[in-house]
């Protein structure tokens, strides 16, 4: 973690009709992770996934949709980049902490991005997932995230008819 990073936490909680085991699998198996990870317009190809504490997670993040490819090109970024993370905490079906090493942001020092996830069963065959994010308020990262995705979000807003942030 760099000294210059500004850290803030965002907590997102969702309840699914599922068991904690099913949710857990989407974070800790190759097929599960590949089935959903990545921003809109991107897909991932997992090359290494060690499901244990301290285990590595290595994958390529690949711009997939035409808009994402165009956005990456516009920012002078390759459409695919290797990404590396570690499961720094791994308590099956309860809690994990995934630390990504962010070393692909131009003109920005390498830093860690931490995602914590808690899993808990609730009533009637549902399970709750609590995702805690620590966004890195680095100016370059911000520029990349915001410029890269704002137009895309606007498109999605229109597609789904959203006018306000959903709860």
């Amino acid at each position: 973690m760099t000294e210059t990073a500004v850290q803030a936490a965002i907590v997102i909680e969702r309840t699914y009709r599922a068991t904690p085991e099913e949710l857990w699998a989407l974070w800790t198996t190759k097929a599960g992770f590949e089935s959903w990870w990545g921003p809109e317009g991107f897909r991932v190809e997992v090359h290494a996934l060690e499901p244990r504490e301290g285990g590595v997670l290595e994958y390529d993040m690949i711009a997939d949709a035409p808009e994402a490819i165009a956005a990456m090109k516009e920012m002078g970024q390759p459409i695919s980049h290797g990404t590396r993370g570690t499961y720094s905490e791994f308590r099956p079906h309860q809690r994990l902490k995934l630390v990504h090493t962010i070393d692909f942001v131009p003109n920005s020092p390498v830093y860690d991005s931490v995602i914590e996830v808690g899993f808990a069963p609730v009533a009637d065959g549902h399970a709750r997932m609590i995702v805690t994010l620590h966004p890195h308020l680095d100016p370059h990262w911000t520029k990349m995230s915001v410029e890269g995705f704002t137009s895309q979000l606007a498109k999605l807003d229109r597609r789904f008819g959203w006018t306000e942030q959903r709860s």
């Binding site: 997102i12 699914y16 699998a25 198996t29 190759k30 097929a31 997992v46 100016p139 911000t142 942030q165």
Partner: protein, 119 residues
């Protein structure tokens, strides 16, 4: 979105000064004491915070009183809201992937250790 906001807050001393001003308008002496900032550096940091729109300053007799301004914090909030939405989208995808996995009677094996030597 002014990236200046992030550059301004990237400095831990300035973050301590901002924290010291949360309770309201303060003279420099209070900021020095509460933020644990060295007197020699506080003027420079307050100037930078002022230039970036984080603090206002007004004279009060011999003193100058500093206070936080809401605008940059609203921008930060907007940025965080955007970040949150990006993640809401991701979790929408998570939900879709979950339903697909539940419909699939042959779940993928719980991989133990995949290593692809491809560079």
């Amino acid at each position: 979105m002014h990236t200046d906001i992030f550059e301004t807050l990237a400095d831990p001393t300035r973050r301590r000064i901002v924290a010291a001003l949360i309770s309201g308008e303060r003279p420099v002496g209070d900021i020095v004491r509460d933020a644990g900032v060295h007197q020699s550096g506080v003027s420079r940091h307050l100037r930078l915070l002022h230039e970036a729109g984080f603090v206002s300053v007004r004279p009060d007799g011999q003193r100058r009183l500093y206070a936080l301004r809401p605008e940059p914090f609203r921008e930060l909030e907007a940025w965080l809201a955007l970040y949150r939405r990006l993640w809401e989208f991701r979790l929408d995808r998570f939900g879709v992937a979950l339903e697909q996995a539940q419909r699939n009677p042959n779940p993928p094996p719980d991989n133990t250790d995949i290593k692809d030597p491809t560079p």
